[in-house]
Structures are given as C-alpha cells and as structure tokens.
Symmetry: C2
Subunit: 352 residues, 2 copies
C-alpha cells in the first residue's frame, strides 16, 4: 500500500484548484469574491476558529465532521442573530503532511452543511502551519427590524431553550471512552449502559450539530409581518446553556431565576451518568448549538407550542441584575430548596 498523497505533493496552487470545485464558479479566481446581497437587508458577520487538538482531533472527528461542525457553529451564530446565510470564507492552516483526502473531506463536510441551510464557499486562503486550524467567517443578511440581539431582555420575561442540552458532551464522552456506554457493563459510577439509539443521537449531536434556523422561521411567523424584535433577546448556546443565560442577562442588565426541573435534559442521559453529572453537562457541556431566547410570555408559550418538546421555558428574567456587578442567575433545585448561583467562571474558557 502506498502512502496517501499529501498536500505537499500537490502544492498550494494544485490544492487550491481542487478546492475551487466546492465554490460557485463566479466567485473564485479573483483577489476577492463579489456578492450581490438582497436589497434592504443588513449584513451579519461572525467568525470562529477551530484548532486541531483543541476543538477537534482525529480520534473523535472525521474530516467531514470537522468541516460540518465548523460551518454549523458559524451558521448557528447567524441563526442567533435572526439572519439567513449567504456564505462563508475559509482560512485554512495545514501541515504539509496533511493528506489531500483529509482536506477534501473537510470541504465536503462544509459543503454538505451549507447545502442544508444555504450559502456558498465564497473564498479562502491556504497556508502552511505545524498545526491544522480552520478559521471560518460566515456572512448572512437580516431584515433590519428582525435582527436579534443579546441586550434586549426585560425583567419578567420567559427564558426559552429550544432543545436538549448535554447531548453533545455525552456524544464526546462516548467517542473518547466508548466502554463507559457499554450496554451491559455500563457506566463505572451508575452501572447504566447506553442504548444504541441514544448513543447514535448523542454522537450525531456532537459531530453534526444543526443550527436552529427553523426556530427563527417559527419566530418570524409568530411575529407576523409587522412585528419586530425590540422585546426579544437571543443567543446560541455554543458555549453552554449557563453561559448563554449569563451572557443574555449581562448584556441586558437583568437577572434570571431558573427551575432545575425544567432544564431540557434527555432522560436517558440522566439514567446513564446520574442527575448531578447530567445537570453539569446540560449547563456547562457546550456545543449543543441550540438557541436561548428571552421572550414575552405569550410569545414564549406560542413558540414552545409550535416547536414542541424538548423546547422548554426554563425560568424567567428578573430585575436583580440591574444593580449587581455580575448578573444574578439562580437555579432552583425545587421551589423549597435554596438556589445555586450560576457563574461564567464555571464555564469553559480558553487560556485559563
């Protein structure tokens, strides 16, 4: 068997020509891509960097999944802004020994993700580096009065979460330590195993997250033609559910009171790892790419009804944030038990 062909064999120009196949013919080959945007809309821009060994590894992630996740993470930010995708640029740093198959797999995953929600690869840059990294900038557009911001929550609103949290973290755990999910031997602490259907769902949640543009469509429908987003706050939960609630509260100058029983946790997850671990992964696991919204109650209930389970109203915003240095976000285990205060420092931070 011969070694796979590497990008050093092909050279930069040869590789670029191969990758152009993933781009629309009319946007490549110039110093920049020229794009005609729909009139009357604002541009929305977001960017994310993924680094080998930090955000992905060959152990848990095939190249197509790296590409999918990198694009999905950016599209999720666009969804959180209420925007529709136009496309992405890709800044790729790669070691010379990277196989061409890996790079093509990466681009195939990006193209597959874009084909689900719209947008094209609009440009990119390639360069040599000792460690692979993928920097993606996503561009979208939004009708100005329909843009969603973090800072518009008001005290007394409902806090809506659009889906299960902790599944992506569980999927990662099963990829890193598959034996912990063995259906018979089970988890070392709880003794419980994971059914194949749950394992598949959690691994898919980790490898192929789905940006929630469907939530934005439902919300726009409910708002109707004339409705605007002045009393709505939103962000995605890429850095964890606790982080999203805290960021929304901080940006809006409000606090929050959450009910533990209403956290959107997969029952099979609690059965597998136990309640404490499941709550921790739900709040701090990250990468679930759901949306967290602060909404007036009638709109929250209508959205929950439209989306169905596991869309949950997990609590309400409060006025306590207005005077505090950091937002006061309390999680109530039961109505009669003293609450825990959530904090940004518990979530994942780079460099620390």
């Amino acid at each position: 068997m011969t070694n796979p062909q590497t990008i050093a064999d092909l050279g930069e120009l040869g590789l670029l020509q191969r990758l152009w196949r993933y781009c629309p013919g009319d946007v490549v080959g110039d110093d920049g891509a020229v794009i005609t945007l729909p009139p009357g809309r604002q541009l929305v821009v977001t960017t994310d960097v993924l680094v080998d060994g930090v955000h992905f590894s060959d152990r848990t992630t095939a190249p197509a999944d790296v590409g999918w996740r990198a694009v999905a993470a950016n599209l999720s930010d666009l969804a959180a802004m209420g925007a529709e995708p136009e496309g992405i640029t890709v800044g790729l740093s790669l070691p010379g020994h990277t196989s061409i198959a890996w790079v093509e797999g990466l681009y195939q995953g990006m193209a597959d993700c874009l084909s689900c929600w719209g947008g094209a690869v609009l440009g990119g840059d390639l360069c040599r580096a000792d460690v692979a990294s993928v920097a993606i900038t996503a561009l979208g557009t939004v009708v100005p009065q329909r843009a969603l911001y973090r800072s518009r929550a008001q005290p007394g609103q409902a806090i809506v979460v659009t889906g299960y949290h902790g599944r992506s973290r569980a999927g990662l755990e099963l990829l890193l330590a598959p034996e912990k999910g063995h259906p018979e031997r089970g988890h070392p602490e709880t003794g419980a195993g994971v059914a194949q259907a749950d394992r598949d769902r959690w691994v898919t949640a980790h490898q192929r997250p789905q940006p929630r543009f469907d939530v934005i469509s439902a919300l726009q429908d409910l708002l109707g033609e004339a409705g605007d987003t002045a009393a709505i706050a939103a962000m995605d939960s890429s850095d964890g559910l606790a982080n999203a609630v805290l960021q929304l509260c901080q940006a809006s100058g409000v606090g929050a009171s959450l009910r533990q029983a209403d956290l959107p946790i997969d029952a099979a997850l609690t059965a597998w790892v136990g309640e404490t671990q499941a709550i921790d992964w739900c709040l701090y696991g990250g990468e679930d790419f759901e949306l967290v919204l602060c909404l007036p109650w009638p709109l929250a209930r209508a959205l929950q009804q439209r989306l169905g389970a596991p869309c949950m109203i997990i609590g309400k915003t409060t006025a306590t944030g207005e005077t505090a240095a950091a937002p006061v976000v309390e999680l109530w285990p039961t109505a009669a038990t003293a609450p825990t205060r959530l904090s940004l420092s518990q979530g994942f931070q780079h460099f620390s």
Copy 2:
C-alpha cells in the same frame, strides 16, 4: 523585573473585553455583527491567514507591524477589486504564554491601518493554539459596474504596474542580515552599502505596506461617471509581480510581452545587490502590494501620467495565451536578446 502579563493570566473573557476597545461599540457583544451597507453596492469579501514563523517572526516584525501587514494585505485585495473597505473580522489563535502587550500591539497595528483607509474591526474569535496565527476576512463594497476582475484583459493592452517591486524583499533582507547593508563594508557580493534613507524606505515597505486605494480613485476619476471596467483587468502583486502578470494572463486567456528595462526597480536596489538579484526580487520577491492592471493604451498612459513615477507600463498583453496550456509571458532583456519565459512554478508556493 517581573514577567509580562500573559493572556493565560487574563483568561479568554478578560482578553476579549480588552480587545473590544478596538471595535465600534455597536457591533460587539452579540453572536454576530450587524452592518448597514451603502445601498446599490455589491459586497466584496477576501480572506488571508498569517502564521508565526511563516509570514512573520519576532525577529523581523513587531506586533503592531504584524497587525498592520495582516490588514494591509487584505485591504490590498479589496483595492485590487476596486472596492472600498467596510471592515474586518479577526480569528486569532495564540499560545497561552503570549503577552497581553503583544496582542494589544497587534490590535493597535490593525486599528492604525484601518484608520488610514477606512473600516472597523467588526468581530473576531480567540482560541488557544501552540503557534500564533491571524486569520483576517475583509469586507468591502463596490459599485457593480466598477468592480475589477482578473479575467478581463484583452490582447494588445498595456500592462501597468503602480510602483517599485523588490523593496519589501530588500527590507526583509536588511532585517534578517543587517550587516549586508552596512554603508561601508557593503554587500558581500557587490561591495555596495545601503544609505539610511533607502534602508528606511525598504524596511517600511516590508513592515508597513500601503494598499493602493489611491490608484483606484485615480482610475475611477479617469473613467468618469459613465465609464465601466469591462475592458480592465487588475490584481494586486502580493505574491510577486511575475505571479500577478501570469495570473492575469491565465484568467484572461492572453499572453504577455514584458520589457526588462521598464520593470519598476529602485536604482539603489540594483546598486546594492546587482542587476540579476534585483530583477529576481522585483519579479518573485512578493509582498509589495502594488496593483498590476491591463488597460487600453490611452487609459494606461493617462493613469501613468496621473500617478507619476514609478508607475510603469512594463509591456503589453498578446494573443499567444489563447492556445497555450499555460500563459506565455516573455521578458525581453533587450529588443535584440532572446526573451526568458516566466513561470508560476518559480514563485513562492506554500507546501512545496
């Protein structure tokens, strides 16, 4: 003396808050930045990745210069498209031991460059990596009929180069081996030294390149209100002058015939390193960030007159490219000497 504070000391959120000072207040703090573009224009997008040890190093480049060059390289691509800058996104990968002063220097350099030609830092992402890299995506806008493309050259046009080439490469040489430019000991091969004014110019050309938006303004002026860019081809010379001519010819299906005597080479550079080396650096040195244009002759002469020296008409496009597999670009040392054929494979390629 204490060690400088590192980004690991500050953490991701702390660093982000410091860097937000370099961004307009209304575009940060959300999942994406929302931007209102001027109506009736197309969006132009370009992206570049710079990696420590490949594109810059502490030996030759202060952090502010890294920031300036990263932005200037992207703005130069916008200029080559005939576009005006709107802003950039910054994807930053950094080792935890990076000093905060280095990151702030980088951002200061980016901000300084943007303040010269317009545009703001519209967003970014930070992550941990073993090697520092900076991925920048620049956004600009262009009046649709004024966009410049590589593919619009026609046989028999003038090839215009907007400034000296080889200076950036000379500046790099002086930074890496200052003794070679010693005014008295001189260059090891030619024995010639470098005057302080030339040294300063060349080092500045390397560290603080200037995107040529002034050329675009002059060209728009000369075209007048009704003129369009249908018979103009353009790109920047970031990857070298030879590369730019070859890319323009390949994209347009033409060849080119260049006169060596008309190459825009600084006389002091030839005096320092000799003619052969000076021509090589002019053609293949790269990073001069000038523009190369294929223009109808009257427009070429008018542009040359408007810009003044060292804007040069270095030759003309020919019909020879139409049937050849690779573009035929010939450099004539004199009218009576057999020409050299330029090739893309002589230029710098990553991975090879």
